[in-house]
């Protein structure tokens, strides 16, 4: 796995280097004072800027990453042609251990039919005295006590909209000390002083994804403020201690090979890919001060989102999530799986982009936030794979009638009307196996 991650990183570096040489733009340079003043004045409305980004292209897209994952092979594994009891009919060929539905039921016990949920039991037909009012009252108590562990347990049943921002801050241990505000201001200064190539990639990504989204285009300026500062934040380097990836290195111009002049590029070690800004966009609904938004995003990234674009054997890593999705579909919807495979529409090709973005940009925002409540509550991303399988189960009847990958994609193109919690509950607890 480490080897695969290493060669994937090398490919990314090559791609970035060739972009540099083609466009004759340095990776990083100090901004002239005039430009610094200009940027400072425009800080709150960077979205109005229309720089020429036509020559830039994203370093990679999720589907490139999927190709790498499909080609992962264990040299010690019997990959013979003959079908055996463990032949992988899906795209992922690595035999990682994934949970099956009985184990998932145990793990996600608070999503069961007998437990109240926000997203199900707060609908207009259900009188609030049955569940909602009591749940809100308990939430307020948890916040008053400032109990982080209790908040994590509480949020498994969903968070009331009014309390969500504070609950997430409590679970992620985000404080609002003056030193945090100062830290954010320092990052802002770093953005103004140095101009990075990665900034253009971020601009391009935001223009391509969030600006075109009906829900998120209003937050365009916030996204620049958060993402540009994020790439200057060296504290993110600490997460590479438990990430299988390594940050890219470079040398100050003219000092190639001298270790005292070796630096990480970008300063936080994370090269953004197509769709990266969608990790930040949903958070803009919760937080309005830039430094709070920034801290929440940074914490969510170093706890969860980094696993979605690096190769590792962790149960919440993207490889395990893909395998979990394929195994669930194969075991509980075998006819559908077989049919899709026969028409050349491997299910993972459609659901991969949902999981890599943690469904951001595909679900309606209130549903997405309910889903991310559960990610925080269970401290695991496995729920993304379960939801992907549940979506396929929901649209199974239509999918059985399609005859090509394109029509399968069309059936699953629009997820914005889906209600996440009933789908999860039915798939885990109410499907007859």
């Amino acid at each position: 796995m480490r080897k695969a991650q290493g060669s994937w990183e090398k490919r990314i570096l090559k791609s970035l280097n060739s972009m540099c040489t083609e466009l004759s733009i340095p990776l990083a340079r100090k901004r002239p004072v005039g430009q610094q003043k200009e940027l400072l004045n425009k800080w709150n409305e960077m979205g109005t800027d229309e720089p020429d980004l036509s020559l830039f292209r994203p370093v990679y897209a999720p589907k490139d990453f999927l190709e790498v994952l499909i080609n992962l092979r264990n040299p010690n594994y019997e990959n013979g042609d003959s079908l055996s009891f463990r032949t992988h009919l899906g795209l992922i060929q690595v035999p990682l251990k994934v949970k099956d539905i009985p184990e998932l039921k145990e793990c996600f016990v608070e999503l069961g039919l007998n437990t109240g949920q926000l997203g199900i039991d707060d609908s207009t037909q259900v009188p609030p005295e049955l569940f909602e009012s009591e749940h809100v009252r308990i939430g307020q108590k948890v916040l008053a006590e400032q109990d982080s562990a209790a908040a994590q347990q509480y949020i498994r049943q969903g968070s009331p909209t009014a309390l969500r921002a504070e609950l997430w801050a409590l679970i992620l241990n985000i404080s609002s000390q003056p030193e945090d505000i100062l830290y954010y201001e320092q990052l802002k200064t770093n953005v103004i002083q140095h101009d990075l190539l990665v900034d253009s990639l971020i601009y391009k990504d935001v223009k391509l994804t969030a600006s075109n989204d009906d829900y998120y285009f209003v937050f365009e300026d916030y996204l620049y403020q958060v993402l540009l500062c994020f790439s200057r934040d060296t504290s993110v380097l600490a997460h590479f201690a438990y990430n299988s990836a390594s940050p890219p290195k470079s040398y100050i111009r003219g000092k190639l090979g001298l270790e005292e002049y070796a630096v990480f590029y970008p300063p936080n070690g994370v090269i953004p890919f197509h769709g990266f800004s969608m990790y930040v966009a949903p958070l803009c609904f919760l937080y309005h001060e830039p430094y709070k938004l920034y801290q929440t995003f940074r914490e969510m990234y170093v706890r969860f989102f980094f696993r979605l674009h690096s190769i590792s054997s962790h149960p919440s890593g993207i490889v395990s999530l893909c395998l979990l999705f394929e195994t669930l579909l194969q075991t509980y919807l075998p006819q559908l799986f077989y049919h899709l495979r026969e028409i050349g529409a491997q299910p993972l090709r459609i659901s991969f982009k949902w999981m890599v973005r943690a469904f951001s940009g595909y679900l309606a925002t209130d549903q997405l936030l309910l889903l991310w409540d559960r990610i925080l509550g269970y401290n695991s991303l496995e729920i993304l794979a379960v939801l992907a399988a549940a979506v396929f189960a929901f649209r199974a009847v239509n999918l059985m009638e399609v005859t090509s990958l394109a029509s399968a994609e069309a059936v699953l193109a629009d997820l914005s009307t889906l209600k996440v919690m009933p789908l999860l509950q039915i798939f885990l607890f109410a499907t007859v196996t």
């Binding site: 540099c20 251990k97 770093n190 060296t234 300063p267 054997s313």
Partner: protein
């Protein structure tokens, strides 16, 4: 507790198979690794460490030295220790493992030879073994140097020499120095955890290309 590495000679793995080894099509599921110790004297085994490579179950047999004239017998000291919870999947397949004396079924006081029996029942893996095998014995409990006599048996208390005029009392000075030392330690330990990390070198962050090494 300190431990001392015991030099050992690990013989190559021998596969156990039913039937003729040459014509049999399947892969062996049982391997035996013998470990001998060139230094002939029996020792007390403290710890065994190794890196697993797709072995599912481990059994260890030990041959101990007996004081009587009876020949040394083989005794099982670890039976079917599970290294991979699911032999068909990657869980635990490449982990570093440590086994200690207290996990063994018998006393490991006078070890002459070890035999590791590796089992991997799943047909999915092409090969399996354990790597970087290291055996440790009990290290010395206390430093072997002897203290000079006057340290451990202080002589009778002598009268301190008359203090010169103007010098402070040594015991008061030493307690003040101790307090200052404690203060500096406290200050050093309580530095704030938020760092304003600098990513540039002396204010310069001009980069051309990424490095591949």
């Amino acid at each position: 507790m300190s431990r001392l590495l015991v030099p050992c000679h690990v013989k190559g793995a021998v596969a156990l198979q039913v039937g003729d080894v040459r014509t049999f099509q399947g892969r062996p599921g049982v391997l035996v690794i013998d470990v001998t110790f060139p230094s002939a004297e029996p020792f007390e085994l403290q710890e065994i460490t190794f890196k697993n490579y797709y072995t599912a179950f481990l059994t260890i047999r030990v041959r101990q030295h007996t004081s009587a004239h009876t020949p040394a017998k083989w005794v099982t000291c670890l039976r079917d220790y599970c290294l991979m919870s699911d032999p068909h999947s990657e869980d635990g397949a490449q982990e570093y493992v440590s086994l200690f004396k207290h996990q063994m079924l018998c006393d490991m006081a006078r070890v002459l030879e070890l035999r590791l029996i590796l089992r991997q029942p799943s047909p999915l893996w092409l090969s399996f073994t354990v790597e970087e095998l290291q055996i440790y014995q009990q290290g010395p409990k206390s430093p072997s140097m002897t203290f000079p006599k006057w340290l451990s048996h202080p002589g009778p208390c002598e009268q301190p020499a008359l203090l010169l005029e103007g010098l402070p009392d040594p015991s008061r000075v030493s307690s003040e120095v101790q307090q200052m030392w404690a203060l500096t330690e406290m200050i050093r330990a309580s530095h704030t955890s938020t760092r304003i990390g600098r990513f540039d070198v002396d204010g310069c962050y001009d980069l051309n290309l990424l490095s591949y090494t």
